[in-house]
Structures are given as structure tokens and as C-alpha cells.
């Protein structure tokens, strides 16, 4: 849990306004996940379709290559696995045990 989740009612901006642009990074949505994406580096061709389609920007890329999932924000929607080309199938969704 990040610190923002601990804020009490006296600390919050009035009316639920968001005053600092880009603070969604501090709001962890990973807890919503049922299925977690699992990546197979041997199959991955680094086409980065998963990165393009991820609605939460939860895929890290470094030097033009897949570099990991941001599990603090990944909601487990499975779009990355769906978009991974059928001949590659480098991402599988696995039920997450918590």
C-alpha cells in the first residue's frame, strides 16, 4: 500500500479534486487483479504490441525491449496476452494466489 491510501479526510483536497497532475502513479490498482501476466523471455520477439495496448501503461520497456510488468498498477485485464501474436504467445495469464 502506498502512502496516499493512508490519507485521512482532513488531508484530502476538497471535492475529490486532483491537484497534482500525474498522481495516478501513486494510486495502486494492482490489488484489483485476479490473473497475473507471466512473460516468457525465450518466446518474446520484443514487438512491443503488449506495451502499445496496455491501457494502464503497466509494461516497462528499456532500450526498445520488454523489461517487465508494473504489478503495482497492472489490473490483470489480459489485453497484453490477447495482443501477443498467436505465433509467439509469450504472455500467459495465470490465476494469482494471494
Amino acid at each position: 500500500m502506498s502512502q496516499i491510501r493512508e490519507l485521512g479526510y482532513k488531508d484530502l483536497p476538497l471535492g475529490g479534486k486532483i491537484l497534482d497532475a500525474g498522481n495516478s502513479e501513486n494510486y495502486e490498482t494492482g490489488g484489483w487483479r485476479t490473473y497475473v501476466p507471466v512473460h516468457d523471455a525465450e518466446k518474446c520477439t520484443n514487438c512491443l504490441l503488449c506495451w502499445i495496448f496496455c491501457p494502464d501503461g503497466a509494461i516497462f520497456v528499456k532500450d526498445g525491449k520488454w523489461a517487465g510488468f508494473d504489478l503495482k498498477h497492472c489490473k490483470g485485464c489480459g489485453i497484453c496476452a490477447e495482443q501477443c501474436p498467436p505465433k509467439v504467445k509469450a504472455i500467459t495469464m495465470v490465476k494469482e494466489e494471494k
Partner: protein, 393 residues
Amino acid sequence: MAKTLGLTGNEAVAYAIMQINPDVMAAYPITPQTALVQKFADFLADGDVDTEMILVESEHSAMSATVGASAAGARAMTATAANGLALMWEIVYIAASNRLPIVMPVINRALSAPINILCDHSDTMGCRDTGWIQIYSENAQEAYENTIQAVRIAEHPDVLLPAMVTQDGFIISHGMEDVTILEKEQVQKFVGEYKPHYPLLDPEHPVSYGPIDFHDFYFEHKKPQVDAMENAKQVILDVGREFSKLSGREYGFFDAYRMEDAEIVAIMMSSTAGTTRPVVDELRRQGIKAGLLKLRVFRPFPAEEIVAALQGKKAVAILDRAISFGAQGGALFSEVCSALYNAGQRIPVINFLYGLGGRPAEIENIQEVYQKLQRIVQTGKVDNLINYLNLRE
């Protein structure tokens, strides 16, 4: 200097809005509010205001446009009545929850069905829990002055809540009376320049309004609304005191008429108080210690102050001009009872539901209220807790 004009309640509030000169006014016509917006449109056409007037296709849109304008940083207003307010419902909550200090005159009218365009308080009493401040006006003069004060109350940094200012449909909205109007400069000086709270149209400080909020934050965003309502009490008194220096009239939570040594008291809101005053005077001439407590502010509800005003009274009648179906009497009755109970006061109380759909509340009906109170004092018994005034059996 102030001048006295013959004005209807609608026209008086249109004058107030003209003198406030809001940045944006979005409205849709509905009886009995139509004449208010029409008069304001006259002022606009005559160049008396530089307001951006948005003519919308429904009240849902009127409130939505007002919310958008207010969030953008404008001093924004609208006006409505009855079914129009009902159609706004969803956005009425959003205005309050986004902490937008919108001021909205509401001309009290019955809700359908059956269709009825005449006065009762079902419309605003129905949205008493939306997070809006509610100020009820007895006559056109009060409607004018409450509208001006509402701007300062709503926009106060400790409050930042929307406010509705009501008047009784037709009885006040279409009845002409002498109204003393301040100079526009006086009103402009009183309301002051609007300083919006984190407006959307401030590119140096980008903000988001209305993001999603679940079990983890929603509750924390509601409590400050409760606190703001509580803060509004002091602000209402302060603004009323400051305004009385302009108008010479006093504005608190309520008007206590011949209350000091009163033994039997009727509590009510809006124009019926004007009918009740001569009844109280007549009873006093007969040596009966009658009093009237005319409530001006229903939200925030001044519970402690009402309890203090009722201290030592022998019987109290509470008049509700709206029915809460399935409840224990009207909403005002429930609030007063709750306040008395929590203060450990066991004063005999009685509820009268009255005036629905424009049913007249005449002198003789009000006399009946005080007669029942006298009987309660004599017998020490409340036979019938909830009564219907001027209803045919």
C-alpha cells in the same frame, strides 16, 4: 441610495442576479420560475449585465452547464422549480460533492402527479440531503436579500457549498409587493470579486474534477462536506450581520416572533409565516401567549438554536408543507423532534401537514393550529400527533 419598487418575487430575485452580475447563467423555463429568467434576460438584452447566458434543452443540462462553468472558475447560477429540480437531481448532488458554490433560486412548487403548478415544498424538501445549503424566504424582499447573501455564504472558503434560495411559488413569485432594492454598486461591493477554488481554466495549475473514488476514498470525501455544512452556520450568521448594515433587516437562522414569553409556538417556513403573524397578534390581544418561529435556514439545520428558542415552551406545532411518505410526519417535524429529544427536552409537539399543491393556509387554518396547542396545554395530552390542515375528509 436604496429605492423601493413594486416587484414580484421572481422579479426581485432577477434584480438580485442582475446586481450580482454572475459570469454564467444557464436555465430552462419552468412554471413558476419562468418569469425570473425572463426578467433576467431583459436585463441582459438591455446591457445591464455581461453574463454569458446559456439557453439549454432541459434542467439536467442547466445544472450540468452550471457545474461546468463553476468548475471552470466562473460565478455561475441557475434557477428552477419542482419537476425541473427533480430532473436536475443527479447533477444537484454532483454540484455539492464537487464543492462548487453555485447559487440557485428555487420557486417552490408541488411535484407531479397529478400535475400541479402551485406551491408546496416537496421539491426542495426532497433534496434536503443533497449537500446544498437551503435558505427559505418569506416574501420578495427576503428572496432578494437571501439571494445576495447566498453568494457570500456559498463562496466562503470555509464553506464552498452550493446554496438554494427558495420562495413560495405564485404566492410570492407572482405576487407584487414593495421591495427595497440596493444600488448595484452596493451589491457588487458586498459580493466582491469571485476567487474560484482550483478552477479548471488555470493552465498553470492543472487539476482534475470528478475522478473515480471507491471504498478507499469516497467516505473521506463525504465527511468534509459535513464539516463544511457545520462551518456554514457561523458564516450564515456573519454574512447576515454584515448584510443587515446595508438593509437594516436582521438575518439569522430564524425569525423569533413574540417568542420570548410565548407558551404555545408554531414553527414553519416561508410565506405562511406572513399569515401567522396577525394570528399571533390577535391571540396576544386576547391574553394568549402565542409565538411564531419562522425558520429561514433548513440546511444546515440549526438544531441547538431551535432547542434554545423552545426552552420552557408548553406546546409546539410544526408545520410541514411537504409530505415524507412513510415517515413519522414531515421532515421539519422530524428534525425538530430529533433536536428536542437529543437535548433532553420533552415538550409536547404536534405536526401539521398543510398547503399541498397550493391548498390555501388561511387565517382560520392557522387559528386552528393555535387552538389545538391551547387544548394540549389544557389537557396535557397530544391526541393526534400528525394532522392535516384544511384537508377534506
